[in-house]
Amino acid sequence: MKLFPMVAACLLAGPVGVASAAERPPPGASSCAGCHAEGAAMGAIDGRPEAEIAAALAAYRSGTRPDSVMGRIAKGFSEAESQAIAAYLARQGQP
């Protein structure tokens, strides 16, 4: 049912370069850049390996990696959501 408007929209949007759905960050991922940057105490995360980010989020979520701020934030995301965020962030900052 959703196909027709989407195809029509792509035809309309295609030539003008509106970003494609594939580039959309998964829920929550766009908030991360508020803190994480090169040179900041929180460190940059864009382009870090997906497995590393996912493991860190899992450890914050379960409390095995103690951290005041990320512990409180990671608990707001399911494992699947955290995986999607890790995959997205790993793709950023790469050529």
């Binding site: 929209a9 509106v18 970003a19 508020g34 929180m42 409180r72 934030i73 959501e81």
Partner: protein, 416 residues
């Protein structure tokens, strides 16, 4: 010719040149307000391939986060000021003028000099206006004697000078409004840092904190820090003990409540607030003075095609913070891009983290994760909360460092 007019003419000229190409070009989005919300939205919309015009009345933005540190002499005012060259360099059309009218039917924004900009979607991030009708005696003229310093700039410097000039043994009265208002923990951070100045430089002076509420953000953290750091400096008067200000007399420097009268050497009165005026003009604010929105797209519940982000919006459980405005702007921009492309916007999750400095090297924080639920932005259960109350001093030092780094990171990202 003033700079605003020059900028406008320049913007008009480049539009005229670009017009033939625009006939079948990218959809147009106008963003009103170049603060944390609007400037972030403009960048994200521009990156998404849209034709973006950012309308911001001031040529320089003065940031509120860390302005309490300026008042306490811990941060130079210069570190609060940001130009818009970074946004212009990124290819965003920045127009320095006040937006004065919005015709939602014709999809057109009018500026103070009559220039109009058409739009396919409009994003409003006008921040707050102070309600100068809320406290008897507290009007714009009164703010020149009893600064609010709740919009950073001259007011911040005025309060800093007053604290500096205050006699040893003097009294600072700081009045806090009821909810909702910009930056829930901000008044308590301000009380803490003024107390730090008093303790280190005027040890017989004190601060009376008059609060129109009984509970507040990071309350346990603030109050336990005050008990340790500032027992002689801060006297806290909650609503239940008569903390609500009923009137002020700026000439006599008197602050009244229903219970008492306070004679102040310095009076910082933070009045109740509402969404910036253009939101009222646009018809997107309800009777509360704030703007109801759809929690997935930030589209106004009152006027279709208009989106409201940042302090002006009713964002449910999300506090009115720069961090929130930045996160909302990205979600709103993604939704606008999707809507213009005929795609269904994705259900978002948003994060907020707010740091407060209680003393140099002593930071505390609150964090939250939010999602649309029941038509509003609600807390994700089990997430968020405040820093541990019994944390070692090393954690307070770390959070003070995080606070400073967050400010550097976010301002670089937004104004960059």
């Amino acid at each position: 010719m003033n700079t605003t007019r020059r900028a406008l003419l320049a913007a008009g000229a480049s539009l005229a040149l670009a017009r033939p190409a625009l006939a079948q070009a990218a959809p147009k989005v106008v963003v009103i307000g170049g603060g944390f919300g609007g400037a972030t939205a403009a960048r994200a919309l521009h990156r998404g391939g849209l034709d973006v015009t950012l309308v911001e009345v001031n040529p320089t933005y003065v940031a509120c986060p860390f302005s309490n540190e300026v008042i306490a002499g811990l941060q130079p005012m210069a570190a609060q000021r940001f130009g818009y060259e970074g946004l212009a360099r990124a290819g965003i059309r920045v127009v320095h003028a006040a937006a004065t009218g919005i015709d939602a039917g014709a999809r057109r924004v009018t500026l103070a000099d009559g220039t109009t900009f058409p739009y396919d979607r409009l994003v409003l991030s006008p921040g707050i206006d102070l309600r100068f009708d809320a406290i008897p005696g507290y009007d714009e003229a009164a703010a020149a004697r009893m600064p609010h310093a709740w919009k950073a700039g001259e007011q911040t410097l005025l309060l800093a000078r007053q604290i500096e000039a205050m006699p040893e043994g003097g009294t600072v009265v700081l009045a806090v409004p009821g909810n909702p208002y910009r930056c829930p923990p901000g008044p308590y951070e301000r009380a803490s840092l003024i107390a730090h100045v008093l303790k280190t430089r005027k040890p017989r002076a004190k601060l009376i904190l008059l609060d129109a509420k009984d509970t507040f953000s990071k309350q346990r953290l603030f109050q336990s820090a005050w008990a340790t750091l500032y027992p002689e400096q801060i006297e806290y008067v909650p609503l239940a003990e008569g903390g609500q200000v009923s009137a002020v007399e700026p000439d006599a420097m008197i602050v009244r409540t229903d219970f008492a009268e306070y004679k102040a050497d310095v009076a910082c009165i933070i009045p109740p607030q509402r969404a910036g005026r253009i939101a009222i003009v646009a018809g997107v604010a309800d009777r509360s003075g704030w703007c109801p929105i759809d929690p997935v797209t930030f589209e106004s519940r009152l006027v279709p095609g208009l989106h409201v982000i940042g302090d002006a919006a009713i964002a449910g459980a999300m506090p009115k913070s720069a961090f929130s405005a930045n996160a909302q702007a990205k979600v709103c921009a993604a939704a606008v891009i999707d809507l213009l492309a005929g795609r269904a916007p994705e259900t978002p999750k948003l994060i907020n983290t707010c740091y407060s400095l209680v003393a140099p090297g002593y930071g505390i924080s609150i964090a939250g994760v939010y999602h649309p639920a029941g038509g509003v932005l609600a807390d994700v259960e089990g997430a968020g909360g405040i820093s541990p109350v019994d944390a070692p001093r090393s954690l307070r030092e770390q959070e003070a460092l995080y606070a400073a780094d967050w400010y550097r990171t976010i301002t670089r990202q937004v104004f960059g």
